[in-house]
């Protein structure tokens, strides 16, 4: 997998990463994303009841207009670690606050890696004084992005910018994980920075919508991790009392979602053993949520994922997965297209040339599944990796 790079960076943020020594591999494992002044920040977090102490810490401190930085450690998820884990999380925030010259409550903490093990605090205590100087450059951003990865094969970053009334704003996203969900690894993290002015509430609304359009629409194996989190930080805090420019906010939301979708797709594309990225478009339902429910059901079907891996235009697995999603539709109104080829309509398979469709699947890493369920306006997009022998090997040939 190639390592991606960004093209634009928002004003008001500096970044850095280092080898603290948490990972035995000696790879980058500690990241700082810092605002040069107080930033508006909001997050969406894993809904898993079993979650890391860092998730509770962030939930209690967002939305906010006082955040100064995010500290991320990789290699240890600090989940299922009890009271000692909570204290270690607090100390991690204090160490980052000391480095950035602010209060620990202004620091958000994210951890990712092995669960059920305590953070190596002496290692972290020794690391912070050695932390390299932070910078607002693409190189520093990439180092920070590399330091949040665990078993990822490639860096996951994306950026977008837009101009409104002569002023250019930028959005930059870094993410890790979900691909190569490792043994006991807690997976998806995303941190997005922008210089578009946002109030804390606007940041919260923006991050929720953006998550639903991007990081909530990807899957490798449907297993929700204990540490999933997505944070949005704006270096330009907007006063809630001043009037909102709805056009500018709309342009920002478009840039944010565009950036997040591109970054999010890198995760299933890097899925452990993945040979194809499924690009699922389900539409024609009453509402978007129904389309979403069907898309998830198809994306989580092992049989569908195996068929895509085998370049097999297996309409039966796709249509029957839609049928058990719990959404009402008329099978006779269903139309299924694979890479643009109509293969199922009017309740029956179409007369299509299986070899041609199979060849079109073989030729592309991304396979497009377009499923129309009826005449209505609901729709959803979902991105998933296929299921391969290598996925099973990686996730079973490990023994604690």
């Amino acid at each position: 997998m190639q390592s991606h790079t960004i093209e634009s960076l928002p004003r008001g943020f500096v970044y850095g990463g280092m080898v603290a020594g948490i990972k035995k591999s000696g790879k980058l494992d500690l990241s700082l994303i810092a605002a040069t002044g107080p930033a508006a920040a909001a997050g969406v977090y894993t809904r898993n009841l079993v979650h890391a102490t860092s998730i509770d810490w962030c939930r209690q401190r967002t939305p906010s207009q006082e955040i100064r930085g995010v500290v991320v450690n990789s290699g240890n998820a600090n989940a299922c670690t009890g009271r000692e884990g909570e204290e270690n999380n607090q100390r991690l925030a204090a160490l980052a606050a000391e480095k950035l010259g602010c209060h620990p409550n202004q620091i958000l903490v994210l951890s990712t890696g092995v669960i059920g093990q305590q953070l190596p605090m002496p290692v972290l205590e020794a690391a912070f004084p050695r932390f390299p100087e932070l910078a607002g450059t693409p190189e520093a951003f990439h180092t920070a992005a590399d330091a949040i990865m665990t078993t990822d094969q490639g860096r996951k970053v994306a950026s977008a910018s837009f101009t409104h009334q002569g002023q250019t704003y930028a959005v930059a996203a870094m993410a890790k994980g979900a691909g190569m969900i490792g043994p006991n690894m807690a997976t998806m993290l995303a941190i997005v920075t922008t210089d578009y002015p946002l109030s804390p509430n606007e940041a919260y609304t923006a991050v929720r919508f953006a998550a639903d359009a991007s990081f909530n629409q990807i899957s490798v194996d449907g297993h929700t991790s204990t540490n999933d989190a997505m944070l949005l930080l704006s270096s330009a805090v907007r006063d809630e009392a001043s009037p909102t420019d709805q056009d500018a906010l709309w342009a920002f939301q478009q840039a944010l979602e565009d950036c997040c979708i591109r970054c999010a797709k890198l995760i299933p594309a890097d899925g452990e053993g993945a040979t194809h990225l499924l690009n699922l478009h389900v539409h024609g339902t009453l509402g978007d949520s129904e389309a979403n429910q069907v898309a998830r059901c198809i994306a989580n079907s092992s049989l569908v994922k195996c068929a895509i891996h085998g370049n097999d235009p297996n309409w039966g697995r796709i249509v029957s997965a839609a049928g058990y999603a719990g959404v009402d539709f008329n099978p006779n109104e269903v139309e299924l297209r694979l890479n643009g080829h109509l293969i199922f309509a009017n309740g029956r398979p179409e007369a299509f040339d299986a070899a041609t469709v199979s060849r079109s699947m073989q030729a592309e890493f991304e396979v497009a599944i377009d499923l129309k369920l009826g005449p209505n306006g609901g729709s959803a997009r979902h991105y998933a990796s296929d299921l391969t022998v290598d996925y099973v090997r990686f996730n079973s040939e490990y023994t604690t």
Copy 2:
């Protein structure tokens, strides 16, 4: 996988199977299960919106006290076949009715195999006159059971009997599928016969409870097929007006569920490529349905299934799968046992010897996962196959 046999058979039924010629392999592919008089019959059927025409046929005709037989063809599911498929299903019922000397409405039809292809009607027309004589013997029962299989490796049958007030009653079950869910194959079928007297409504209640305790508690990959069905037939129709012997009915229900659970477990045990059967017991929840929801979530986690395949006591994957099941519990009250070894409690992993637990998993085909979520009385059992390289190979190395 060994082929199982039955020990007792209910009075009032005869069985048979033959090579009709639907399967290119030349294996048995047509079954008849016939009552010697009108039988009480009830069924539970797939909830998939995309389902076979035979499912509609059976739904419209059960519960009933007039059923004379069940005809099952394997090798072709007659699903997604439109109006022509409906007519072929009717004709199949008519052919069986002619053979058994009854009205087509007294025949239940089940089909299993490839979907989206029309039944080879000339082949079936030619087969029925050659159908061997039916018999009420274990050999004939086994032949009928063999003829409903598709890609199953072994026969799936079980029987039970009980004595009430000096009278002995029998229950016999045959099932197919779910194991080796093949390309476009429509999967689980079960037919249970008994001579315990039942009214149609009693049969319906009995089959629903038995399905929930057995065939609804198994999974290979969580993909609900288009043709799943379970039928219960009693050769002794009980008049609804006469008083029910509750003790006898209770004894019958126990025998029925015992027989069905043993038969149902054979399906994930024969799961494509399966090296382990997961025996999941989730308990301590407020109600059974909550326990069931958690059990299904764990059983459908690819990460859990890979870990079991690798003999890896990976508590993190199991506990985190429970955490995203949508059921409320306190992680600090969770206790997880693997093959009897306590490996997680009080929100943290226990100090256990991973090598010992791993060896205990390696030694047994059936691996016991016992998950206590709290102090309450709800519980559920679920049986699932693990996820192996062979499963992925089988389901991806096929191209239409």
